[in-house]
C-alpha cells in the first residue's frame, strides 16, 4: 500500500462519522457564542484543544463564569481516556520521527482512533499504518474546524430531529462488532458497556475512563488475545 492509498483508507473509514460530527461541531460553535465567547475565541478553542466533548463542557463552564482552574481540570479529566488510545497506537508509531508522533498525537481523537484501530490491530507492523491514522485524523480535523465555523456563522442549522448524531454510535458498532471474535473480547466489551451506562452520571467522563479500565481488566483476566505479545 502506498502512503496516499493508506491516507485515503483512513479518510474513508472516518467518512460516515462526519455525518454525526458536523451537527455536533455546529452546535459547539453556537453554544460557544452563547457562552459569551467571541467567534475568534470559539475557533481558537477548536484548533488548540480539538476535543469535542471537552469543548462543550469548557464552553458551559465559561458561561457560568467558572474559575479557569476548574475549566482546566474538567478538560484534563475529560481527555484522560486518550492516554489509553496513545498506548494502543504507540507500537505502530514507534519507528516515526518525533514531529510525526506529535502530529498524530494532536489528531488522536475518539473518532480517528476508532477509524484506524482495526487496521492497526490487523497490521501493527505495516510501514504505512501511520498514514491511515493521519488520513482519519486530518479528515476529522478539517470537518471539526469547518463545522465550528458554520455553527458560528449560521448557528446549529441542521434540524436536531433528523438525529444525524446517531451516525457516530452506528459507525462505532460497525467497527466494534467485527473486532469481537472470542469470549475474552466479548466479556471485555460487555463489561465496558455496562460500567459506562452505570457510571454515566459521574462528572467529566470519569465513568468512561473507569468503564474502559474495567473492560481491560476483564479482558486480560479472560485470556491471552491472539497477537497480544507481538510488540
Amino acid at each position: 500500500m502506498t502512503p496516499v492509498a493508506a491516507f485515503f483508507v483512513g479518510v474513508r473509514a472516518l467518512l460516515p462519522m462526519l455525518v454525526g460530527v458536523t451537527p455536533f461541531g455546529m452546535l459547539y460553535g453556537a453554544v460557544a457564542l452563547q457562552a459569551g465567547l467571541s467567534p475568534l475565541a470559539a475557533m481558537l478553542m477548536s484548533s488548540l484543544v480539538f476535543a469535542g466533548s471537552a469543548q462543550f463542557v469548557m464552553a458551559q463552564l465559561i458561561a457560568t463564569s467558572a474559575p479557569a482552574l476548574l475549566v482546566f481540570g474538567a478538560a484534563t479529566l475529560i481527555n484522560l481516556r486518550h492516554a489509553l488510545y496513545s498506548a494502543s497506537v504507540a507500537p505502530a508509531l514507534k519507528h516515526l520521527a518525533p514531529p510525526w508522533k506529535a502530529l498524530l498525537a494532536y489528531l488522536l481523537t475518539d473518532e480517528a482512533f476508532a477509524a484506524a484501530a482495526s487496521h492497526l490491530l490487523a497490521e501493527p507492523r505495516s510501514p504505512h499504518a501511520h498514514w491511515i491514522l493521519f488520513g482519519a485524523g486530518a479528515a476529522l480535523w478539517l470537518c471539526w474546524q469547518l463545522a465550528t465555523l458554520a455553527g458560528i456563522l449560521i448557528g446549529p442549522a441542521l434540524p436536531e430531529d433528523l438525529g444525524l448524531d446517531f451516525a457516530l454510535p452506528l459507525t462505532f458498532i460497525s467497527i466494534l462488532v467485527p473486532l469481537i471474535d472470542d469470549r475474552a473480547r466479548l466479556a471485555a466489551a460487555l463489561t465496558a458497556a455496562a460500567l459506562a451506562v452505570a457510571l454515566a452520571w459521574l462528572p467529566y467522563n470519569a465513568g468512561l475512563v473507569i468503564a474502559m479500565l474495567g473492560g481491560l481488566m476483564v479482558g486480560v483476566l479472560g485470556g491471552v488475545p491472539r497477537g497480544g505479545s507481538a510488540r
Binding site: G36, L37, S38, A41, L48, V49, F50, V71, F72, A75, T76, R81, H82, A83, L84, Y85, S86, A87, S88, A90, K94, L104, A105, Y106, L108, F113, A114, A117, S118, G163, F166, A167, L170, T171, I173, S174, I175, L176, V177, P178, I180, A184, A188, L190, T191, A192, A193, A196, V197, A200, L208, A211, M212, G215, L216, G219, V220, P225, G228, S229
Partner: protein, 107 residues
C-alpha cells in the same frame, strides 16, 4: 465579551493537557519496559473504548436508562445484528439509520 486573546492562555494549557494525554505513551514507546499485563491489555483498548462510548448512546435517554420505546436502542440492536451477519460497515450504518427513522416516524 472578553477579547479572544484573553482566552488564549487557558486554551493553550487545556490544549497542552489534551495533547499530553494523547502523546504520553506514543512518546514513551521504546523508552520503558511495560509490564506484561499492560502489553496483554493493549489489544483490548479499541474494543473497550468503542463499547464504552457506544453503550450510553443507545441505552440512556436524557441520562436515564430506557429500554421500552427507545428507538436508538432498537436501531442499535439491529445494527449489531447486521454487523454480525454481513460485516459491512455501510450496510450496518444505513440499516441502523433506516430502523431509527422508521421507528421515529411510527412513534
Amino acid at each position: 465579551m472578553k477579547d479572544a486573546w484573553q482566552w488564549l492562555p487557558l486554551w493553550l494549557v487545556c490544549g497542552l493537557a489534551t495533547f499530553l494525554a494523547r502523546y504520553s505513551f506514543i512518546a514513551l514507546e521504546g523508552r520503558y519496559k511495560p509490564p506484561s499485563w499492560f502489553v496483554k491489555a493493549l489489544p483490548f483498548v479499541p474494543i473497550v473504548a468503542l463499547s464504552a462510548l457506544t453503550a450510553p448512546e443507545l441505552l440512556l435517554v436524557e441520562g436515564h436508562l430506557q429500554i421500552a420505546g427507545n428507538a436508538k436502542l432498537y436501531a442499535g440492536a439491529i445494527a449489531v445484528a447486521l454487523a454480525l451477519i454481513w460485516r459491512n460497515a455501510l450496510l450496518t450504518i444505513l440499516g441502523g439509520f433506516s430502523v431509527f427513522w422508521l421507528l421515529r416516524l411510527l412513534g
